[in-house]
């Protein structure tokens, strides 16, 4: 599991590369929270392009980051999810709360 952070002004893109389960979710959570603390992040983009697998542990991880950034007046969105992960997000009602964009470009078009 690998995480890449790319920050441009107050937009933080987080590219997760690997499988998201309970084991890796703990690591992902810790890394993201540590990166954001004390930064001026306003928008978080969770990029799922390289996530081949996610179970329901991913839902908690996503919703947890969403709640944290909302609390400080920010926004979070998800981009590039595959069908099987989309199904899990739909099932839990996540996609009714958190916006999902096709890719980074679509999201950047929206916030401009």
């Amino acid at each position: 599991m690998k995480i890449d952070f790319v920050k441009k002004e107050n937009v933080l893109s987080i590219k997760i590369d690997g499988e998201i389960d309970h084991h890796s979710a703990a690591e992902i959570r810790t890394k993201i929270d540590a990166y954001i603390t004390g930064s001026n992040t306003k928008y978080i983009v969770l990029d799922f392009k390289k996530v081949g697998f996610m179970d329901s542990s991913g839902i908690g991880m996503v919703m947890g980051r969403y709640r944290n950034i909302k609390r400080v007046g920010g926004e979070l969105c998800i981009v590039s999810v595959n069908n099987s992960i989309k199904r899990i997000l739909d099932m839990a009602g996540v996609t009714g709360i958190i916006p999902v964009y096709k890719n980074q470009e679509e999201f950047l078009g929206v916030i401009k």
Binding site: D21, H22, H23, A25, A26, S56, S57, M63, M91, A92
Partner: protein
């Protein structure tokens, strides 16, 4: 083709073994030539059940998780067993979004995922004795 096979796996209750359990179930089921979607469904359901055994059954502590996979004709049956805490109120536990561990950022969607990704789900549990999950899925491709 009639195809019978069986594997029983017993492993340490630690979160690194969640992916191991998925790999094993997936390699086992692959013998039936499932579609990518069927395979993803099974991997996900196994991941949910094994994770529950580790974090709810044994509270993240020591224990043994058992996974049994059986192929019979076109159906795979997967049984996941822990000898841990057990579930007091099964009806409550199986409700979508119910979780006893919100502090661990659990979503309460594990049972719902198992139910909708597999064709059959049975949960047997006894308090302080442990929990057994039985799931089945028919592999349509298999012939």
């Amino acid at each position: 083709m009639k195809y019978d096979n069986h594997i029983k796996v017993e492993f340490t209750s630690k979160s690194a073994n969640e992916s191991l359990a998925r790999v094993i179930a997936s390699a086992f089921v692959s013998q039936l030539d499932p579609t990518l979607e069927e395979l993803a469904d099974i991997r996900t359901a196994v991941s949910e059940a094994v994770t529950n055994a580790i974090i709810h059954g044994y509270d993240g502590g020591k224990g043994k998780v058992i996974m049994e996979c059986t192929l019979q004709d076109h159906t795979v049956e997967i049984k996941i067993v822990d000898k841990g805490n057990g579930i007091e109120d099964l009806n409550l536990a199986m409700q979508p979004l119910y979780t006893s561990k919100p502090e661990l950022e659990r979503s309460g969607m594990g049972f719902t995922v198992m139910q909708s990704f597999m064709d059959f789900l049975e949960v047997k549990s006894e308090l302080h004795k442990g929990t057994t999950i039985i799931m089945r899925k028919c592999i349509k491709n298999a012939d």
